[in-house]
Subunit: 759 residues, 2 copies
């Protein structure tokens, strides 16, 4: 589901970690890992990819069911205890879709809304089961209204529109993909009174401006469009009608109307071939510079017709969907642990695509299959992990993480007791390793990355990433973040940072609702699938030609992720280094303090400029741009509780890390067991029952998807977003709640330290 | 000639000025200025504009001669002692021009190279005397070669090309307009072995991406192209065959081949309508992200055909010119001063355009005419300025500042003795006042700007600019320069900074060769002429519809510039505040020190990354991008001489400003005369005979056009450019020379202070 440059992810990471004492652990079993590596076959993955991506495999499709059955059969054949768990999920599919320009320059015009086969891509011609343009969980409707261009459709865009004197009330908006998560675009449009929404892919963002278009190159061709979910992910993921509990066959459900995460206005995606006609029809103000893509037109905002009696574009938008329940088939496979069978290492990747899904998700799924086959063979050959390994092939991730969320909600109590960690992957590409997740695992990630060889350069994937961060810093000397990461990367004694996780793939429930230690991994940055993302051109042909020829990086992913699973399953003492988490949180606290200051300064500045009439004086009077709204004065927040909690956390983390380092090798079996028991619930201390404002499902006080970023993470979200949105009472409340969570976490660490000390 | 956003100029200014003691001066004659203002008539300017811009008026054209005669006659009728000084300048005009795509996708194709009339713009249909596409002082030729796209054609672009493995040796380059001065593009192409150059206007920079295209909006239509000079301005301006002396009728001349400023390769400008076909034909690597404009194509670099036996675009480029001498008619008009007739206040604007030249230069020229008419009327009415006023209507600015440079070179010795200041303007538009020049005049500029009312808002043009800087800062909180200027603008007790001058208009000789106090002024930032700059669509119709309807800002320019002239002509005591100059230079010194450090860091970093093989590891191996070239280790420079000179300058400037402030009102007439005599040669102390490296014509050690920016200024150029280009021996030499110049300047100030003190 999620497709962003892994490199970008890494460069976006906000925390830089300091050197910390090396932790003495039982060394990983390198001989076992060598055997594992020898069984990883990119050629085999290529074969699986071809089979799984042969036909459209969206939720409820015939090939989707076939893929579930095949995956189940393979896992069984590899020696796993495997089964399918079926959920019954609401999943609307399009019955009728239409976008027409009914008035204005270029009218009448009817958009295609289907993706014609591409010469030379045989898969793209298998359109029998392919669905036309749609986005999941929009609100059906049939509307005709003037069109307004809203750039990326994010909050700042609406502020700019207001200053331009253009309202979207009663209009249909057209937004371009990018900048914020897809689902926010129709949601914000709806909140601003729009009656419909269209989301198109501008060629500047993933079309001809980025590379030759498919089939000559990897980028989006004029007729390609991006499907996707627009359910209100930032409120909660999973089935919109079963909030917080599993969509089992007999589950009690909200009605579609009652569900808070199903949108109310009709919404469709659009290709840039068709969008050009719609955008060209607009009148009104010329769009601000940052709003302009690379279509060969002057971008206008629209909204001019009413004021001037002109005739800007008017659009007819219609969506009728089949709102029936569809089955989602999660394949759950287990290798039982011999020492601690009730300690689970869970690994997952989704299996469903929007159409053929070669890159997204199958490139990651076949890596997971490779791991599973190799682990099964090791198991058959006599290796028995200490802990239980659970492999999960999720269905229905694309519509809104349905397969994983419903499973996690159904098994929540058991998972909270038994799960040690959840490791996720999704689509994969050539390039650099990108990792996000719980920062207590940051050093563990670095150790694993140092032991896997990059297919293209022959150095470790960590060394390649380190080199890249150093070069990025050299080539972007005015980017403070790149420079900071480059400085870090230049010191080989330091770990590379992992990012904080937002949402957009199946880790969300595990991290943000259940509070488990979580990682999400993938390679990328080269040979991106961005140009065919969620289109009918994300095919075996495209993936193996442009994204990962020879599936070398699916192989590398399997080696990274498989190692993590084996090391976590067999670890003699904890792999975590809690000082990294403490340092990271300390960095986040510095950020939110600076943010609070910046928001105070901004409010004062705005007040001063408004009083001076500066906006009016600075404006071109021929372009209507009114004053920006005044900002309420910002109080000075008391960060004392956070300061004290972070200081306590640092002390407790340092004590634990040092104690484990000096005494870890001498622990008795009973101590180790007690230590596991003490640490397994530790990350859950970060949850607060109250959850985050407007969205109690999200309970993690450290990591959340942003309310206005979607996929993008917000750290210390209760505090940070309250400051960003100037909800200063909430900020104070969540300073308290977050401090509580961190203090509980520190107390948990102290208890674990006591176990090592013989407690 | 020069066309950039005035706002951008101001925001680009590097020096921020501090508050300084107010200087007590004889107050300007506000009653006189009110009379002057009352005679400024935008409607009259509109009429002059219509007449002057009625036909093509390039150098040597019939209408150009008629405009000279008309200007002369009007000045005389207004009471000025006026004459025409004729120079005989080399000015090549096109006889035959051709650009054809002869091989590759899209071939054969022949570019238009003419600008068809625009419906509704009657002027644009007067094409009888219009010249086709050409740039002045390219090297004629007839070549056929593969095409390579070089982005803006600046040095960093060639570094990037080299890493992509693409050479321009023996090729024709196509560069887009922007980023650096036009003439650098063919010059650098030539130095890299190219046999021809094409410069096109990408729609991202001034076409449909910026506004609706003409006639619907102000921006460049698909068939519009930008003419201009490509003589090597950064070596010296003026007639390429008379370096350093006047192009009088009998002047001894270099041959065309001997001239160092005439290029050797054929070069033509191109419209984006035609460029699309050429760029689409290219193969080879996809252009780096920053190189991509907004044509609806994937930008490729070219150069792929040889390596792969493919067939990228091949181009035939032909230019044949008439290299005969043409007459340039400078109109020189004088109002004699009654007290100090040998102290001259000089004011100039050029009169020649590339075609009709309505915005560039006539919008500024008619403002100057308005001033001249009003000053003439005041003179006739009895006002006799203390000092002599010289108004200059330059011809032949467009081909390379010919009219002003040849006049200044011819009269150099007299000017060095008599000129108090030179005040320049050029094209003018709606918006904000932008001023560049000698920083000793910064406070004077602020005082004048506070006394002229902005036509659109009714506040002073300074207050409007102040508001704009404050709003820019608020809206660009991550731009350090915007924030610094905003902080300054927020304090009404502080002056706004003026920018340093590079080149691109007629002030160059006065400031950089003769060392006179110089100012260059214009309004802009709204209703830009950028979209028709140097094209046949820069017409009366375009200017009065989009750039300055009603000529209100030509009126405002006349009020600003006329005030400056009157105040300088009548000033009882010096208007300069030298502390502003000292503070500004001190800021420049801080900048070059930081630059030296950054260059040292960069070299060390590059060495480290090369040794670690980091570039290779960070590279996508499917995209050839070799290691960057190693950088020689940078020595630590001794800035001691500059530190001492700046400290001395600050002390001398403070002493002068304070002494004048306390004793200025009590000076005797004899003292005032001696003070004038002491200060008139002061700015000339900034010159060193040796001039700058590679270009001895440029003698000012503080201000110069950049060798690799062209129009853009480099301050402390001998030092700064030596560091930028890693000529560290030159840096040491010019630290010494610049320190000498500043010390001489300080000594001159000390002598002036002694005069005030009764010396």
């Amino acid at each position: 589901m999620k497709s962003v440059s892994r490199l970008a992810i890494l460069l976006a990471a906000t925390a830089l970690c300091a050197a910390a004492p090396a932790i003495v652990q039982a060394a990983p079993d390198k001989a076992l890992e060598a055997k594992f590596d020898a069984m990883i076959s990119p050629a085999e993955m290529d074969g699986w990819l071809k089979t799984l991506a042969a036909e459209p495999n969206h939720v409820g499709s015939a090939h989707g069911k076939a893929n579930a059955d095949l995956t189940l059969a393979l896992f069984k054949s590899w020696g796993w205890d495997a089964k399918i768990e079926t959920f019954w999920v609401l999943y609307p599919t399009p019955i009728e879709v239409a976008i027409e320009l009914t008035a204005g320059p270029g009218a009448p015009f009817k958009a295609t809304l289907t993706e014609a086969p591409i010469p030379g891509d045989e898969t793209s011609s298998r359109i029998k089961d392919e669905l036309p343009a749609y986005v999941a969980f929009q609100g059906d409707g049939d509307v005709t209204a003037p069109l307004v261009y809203v750039n990326y459709g994010m909050p700042a865009d609406y502020d700019a529109l207001e200053r331009l004197g253009v309202s979207v009330q009663g209009k249909i908006v057209i937004a371009r993909y990018g900048a914020g998560w897809r689902g926010l675009k129709p949601k914000l449009a709806q909140e601003h009174g729009a009656v419909g929404a269209i989301i198109y892919s501008d060629p500047r963002d993933d079309g001809y401006s980025t590379d030759d278009v498919y089939p000559k190159g990897a980028s989006r061709p004029p007729q390609g469009f991006q499907r996707g979910s627009v359910a209100d992910m930032t409120t909660f993921p999973g089935d919109p009608t079963t909030p917080g509990y599993g969509s089992t066959k007999d589950a009690k459900r909200l009605t579609r109307q009652e569900s808070p995460t199903i949108l109310k206005i009709p919404t469709l995606p659009l290709s840039y071939g068709d969008a050009t006609v719609l955008l060209r029809s607009l009148d009104g103000p010329v769009a601000p510079p940052a709003w302009r893509g690379s279509l060969p037109i002057t971008y206008h905002v629209g909204g001019g017709s009413e004021a001037k009696g002109g005739g800007g574009g008017q659009v007819h938008l219609k969506v009728v969907s089949d709102w029936s329940l569809k089955p989602a088939y999660d394949v759950i496979a287990t290798l039982k642990g011999k020492v601690a069978p009730d300690e689970w290492i869970i690994r997952g990747n989704h299996r469903d695509g929007w159409v053929f899904g070669a890159s997204d998700p199958l490139s990651g799924h076949v890596a997971m299959m490779g791991e599973a086959k190799a682990l099964g063979a090791l198991y058959k050959g006599g290796w028995k992990p200490k802990r239980t390994i659970v492999y999960t092939s999720w269905d229905a991730e694309e519509p809104m993480l349905l397969g994983s969320t419903e499973w996690a909600e159904t098994h929540a109590e058991e998972l909270k007791t038994k799960a040690v960690a959840y490791i996720n992957s999704d689509s994969n590409a050539r390039g650099f390793l990108g990792v996000g997740g719980s920062h207590s695992l940051q050093h563990f990630v670095n150790e694993v990355a140092a032991d896997v060889t990059d297919p293209q350069t022959g150095v470790s994937v960590r060394d390649r990433l380190r080199a890249n961060l150093a070069v990025q810093a050299a080539e972007n000397p005015t980017n403070p973040r790149a420079v900071a990461q480059g400085r870090l990367a230049a010191d080989p004694t330091k770990d590379l940072p992992i990012e904080a996780l937002g949402s957009g793939s199946d880790y969300s429930s595990f991290l943000q609702n259940l509070g488990l230690a979580t990682l999400n991994l993938g390679f990328g940055g080269e040979g991106s699938d961005g140009g065919v993302y969620h289109s009918a051109y994300d095919t075996y042909e495209h993936h193996t030609r442009f994204v990962d020829p020879g599936m070398a990086y699916s192989g590398a992913l399997a080696k990274v992720t498989g190692r993590m699973v084996m090391r976590l399953a067999d670890a003699d003492t904890p792999v975590q280094r809690y000082g990294d988490f403490a340092d990271t949180v300390s960095g986040y606290l510095d950020e939110v303090k600076r943010l609070a200051e910046a928001k105070r300064d901004e409010a004062a500045q705005r007040t001063r400029l408004l009083a001076a009439g500066a906006y009016r004086l600075a404006d071109d009077p021929t372009v209507s741009r009114g004053d920006p709204a005044p900002l309420p004065a910002s109080p000075k927040l008391d960060f004392g509780p956070m300061d004290r909690a972070v200081a306590r956390l640092k002390a407790s983390a340092t004590a634990f890390d040092q104690t484990l380092s000096t005494k870890g090798a001498t622990l008795s079996s009973a101590q180790k067991k007690r230590l596991d028991a003490a640490l397994m619930p530790l990350e859950q201390k970060l949850l607060r029952d109250k959850g985050l404002p407007f969205r109690p499902w999200y309970k993690n006080m450290i990591y959340a998807p942003g309310r206005f970023t979607g996929y993008g993470a917000k750290t210390l979200p209760g505090v940070r977003e309250a400051i960003e949105e100037r909800r200063f009472d909430d900020a104070a409340t969540y300073i308290g709640l977050t401090a509580e969570a961190l203090t509980d976490y520190a107390a948990g660490l102290d208890a674990a330290t006591a176990v090592i000390n013989g407690g």
